[in-house]
């Protein structure tokens, strides 16, 4: 990959990171707190792309006289510099090099510079412009073209529930009827507080649907600490008046009450508390698909 192409990849990577950070797209992949770092990284990558193009052009100009005088030292560069001028027009097709696209006049100096520059600094290096860098095109394509969705029921049912006992106990429930709780909060109170703080209250929680092998429905939130690679599900079982048809990955808001029923996650033997549903309605996925309450 030559420098123009590298500049293009840097520019596109920086641009897509900026795009992800400026929209809510990044929330599908990483925690909300990474946003400033993402934006900064995007800006640095774009600056690197611009600097690469800028220094390529500048050193091209300053080295032109050297190229002219090269034949005096050795005849090889002279035979070389003429055909080497041809590569430059190929840069016209690089998407991100618009601003740097060498005008026809300087394309020849670009080519000449490349050879001189390579001789001067990179004679051993010419073959080592990192070829592995081509792999960077893959995440670029994935992010720009596919923008994969947040982890859903497939990952949730393959991974054991991550519900853990919180050592600092449980505060009293907020006021409201029904009271709105996060799924992780409900699961913690139901599993480790024996439902004491939940007794006799109508509760409303939201999550996405996942079905186990037998088709029993669970409501799940993926809890995230840093990025989707460490996302882990917190599951609650649904019982009572669950909707007859449940689509995996569909977001659902359920209203109901605590039930002492519980089960064990077959994957890691973790506790899965249940929820007695009286009412359920489909809702939009939240802005941040992951529960980040563990990030403090």
């Amino acid at each position: 990959m030559n420098r123009q192409a590298q500049a293009a990849v840097l520019f596109l990577t920086g641009g897509s990171i900026l795009h992800a950070g400026l929209t809510d797209l990044y929330l599908r992949y990483v925690k909300a707190g990474l946003r400033p770092l993402l934006l900064a990284a995007g800006v640095v990558l774009i600056a690197t792309a611009v600097a690469t193009v800028w220094y390529e052009r500048r050193s091209a100009r300053s080295l032109t006289p050297a190229a002219d005088s090269a034949p005096a030292a050795d005849s090889a560069p002279a035979t070389d510099s003429a055909p080497a001028a041809d590569p430059a027009p190929a840069t016209d097709s690089a998407p991100a090099t618009d601003r740097a696209t060498a005008p026809a006049a300087s394309s020849e100096t670009d080519g000449a510079h490349d050879s001189v520059h390579d001789y001067a600094h990179d004679s051993a290096h010419a073959h080592h412009e990192p070829r592995i860098a081509w792999l960077l095109v893959l995440p670029l394509l994935a992010l720009i073209l596919v923008a994969p969705p947040a982890l859903g029921s497939y990952s949730a049912m393959r991974t054991g529930t991550a519900l853990q006992e919180q050592p600092w106990g449980f505060s009293a429930l907020p006021a409201g009827d029904p009271v709105r709780l996060s799924l992780v909060d409900y699961a913690g109170r139901a599993a480790y507080d024996k439902g004491h703080s939940l007794d006799g209250r109508r509760i409303r929680i939201a999550g996405f649907v996942a079905l186990d092998r037998d088709g029993s429905p669970y409501l799940v939130r993926m809890a995230l600490n840093c990025c989707a690679a460490d996302a882990q599900p917190v599951k609650i079982g649904l019982t009572g008046r669950t909707p007859p048809v449940l689509q995996p990955d569909a977001w659902l808001e359920v209203t109901g009450t605590y039930t002492a029923k519980r089960t064990r996650d077959p994957v890691n033997n973790g506790v899965i508390p249940f929820f007695e549903v009286t009412e359920a309605r489909p809702v939009e996925a939240p802005r941040d698909p992951y529960d980040e309450s563990w990030n403090g």
Binding site: Q4, A20, Y29, A76, A84, H121, L136, Q164, N225, V267
Partner: protein, 336 residues
């Protein structure tokens, strides 16, 4: 004379195409690649709609997006070291005797606020700047594990177990220092063969700085992609239930989590939370997970290969792995 050395292969080129090899056309290839992907995106999307592929892609993109800011941070730091910090600074800052420089560099790892993606390029720059490799390697191993961010995350993830933080700090620092001393005793300079880089001589500081940033991002970033693909494959394809079976035997449990740390390649700022969720495993096994992960995993191995050369990585990685497991078990036996 370099000109005459380099000239023949070029002069032999018949046309412009032969002359520079296929990468001479790389902007064109890149454009065709991007255009092609846009044109066939519908069929691609259909294939990728499979849940397992979607999950793979999400984890893959997530690892990249998460690691990129830290990679950029490390690359910037490494470029600053390479261009603006004179080698004499390190000669003054570190004790002259390598045996003493190792623990000092290991402790210095505590101040690099980042994860392992940042430490590899910085350690590479330190070596190129003339720092004793043994000290730079101690820094490479300790920095992602004992910096304040990571230790705080560990404390948050193990709220009932403050000893876990201490054990992680001690075990990581011990492994880093021992690896440094080990390298000093048995390491050979010719194993360290960093791939050639664009020469900085004769360039202005700005050009050298941005050249270093560009090269490191492209190079380490490419290897990061390899690691991200491996981690995504593990997360999306291998059933988590396998782990449950390993937890019962204490020896198997330690080894299983050590291997898991290598395969998962989770950022060291997040691994404590994953370790905390592996409740069926003993604390010592989870300590092993926390000590091994930041020092050697698939992503790191790829990046170390990129920065220090294959000869180095194939020796350094297994030694680090074995030592990290051993020290974790010992520290776990004493502290946990």
């Amino acid at each position: 004379m370099t000109t005459t050395d380099a000239a023949p292969p070029r002069a032999e080129g018949r046309g412009p195409d032969d002359q520079r090899g296929w990468h001479f056309n790389s902007p064109l290839v890149l454009t065709l690649l991007l255009l092609g992907a846009v044109v066939v995106q519908d069929p691609i999307r259909r294939v990728l709609a499979e849940p397992v592929m979607q999950s793979w892609m999400t984890v893959f993109v997530a690892v990249m997006v998460q690691a990129l800011p830290f990679l950029v941070l490390g690359v910037l730091l490494s470029a600053v070291i390479a261009v603006f910090v004179p080698p004499s600074f390190f000669a003054r800052a570190l004790p002259a005797r390598p045996a003493l420089a190792v623990p000092v560099a290991g402790m210095a790892g505590a101040v690099l606020p980042g994860c392992e993606c940042a430490s590899v390029p910085v350690a590479g720059a330190l070596v190129r700047r003339g720092v004793t490799p043994a000290a730079a390697l101690a820094f490479l191993l300790s920095a992602p594990a004992i910096n304040p961010i990571v230790l705080t995350a560990t404390a948050v993830a193990f709220p009932g177990e403050p000893r876990m933080v201490l054990a992680r700090f001690v075990a990581s620092l011990v492994v880093a220092c021992v690896m440094g001393w080990l390298w000093q005793r048995v390491g050979r300079a010719d194993w360290l063969r960093p791939p050639s880089r664009p020469g900085a001589e004769g360039l202005g500081r700005g050009a050298a700085f941005w050249g270093s940033v560009r090269h490191d991002v492209m190079h380490a970033g490419g290897f990061l992609v390899v690691g991200a693909m491996a981690a995504a494959t593990l997360k999306a394809v291998v059933p988590a239930a396998w782990l449950g079976m390993a937890a019962d035997n204490p020896v198997v449990a330690v080894l299983a989590l050590a291997v898991l740390a290598v395969l998962l390649s989770i950022c060291s700022e997040a691994d404590a939370f994953v370790a905390a969720s592996l409740t069926q495993f003993s604390l010592t096994a989870r300590l092993t997970f926390l000590v091994v992960g930041p020092m050697i995993d698939l992503k790191l191995f790829a990046m170390q290969t990129a920065t220090f050369g294959r000869e180095f990585a194939v020796r350094f990685a297994p030694a680090t792995f074995a030592l990290a497991v051993l020290v974790s078990v010992l520290v776990g036996a004493v502290l946990l």
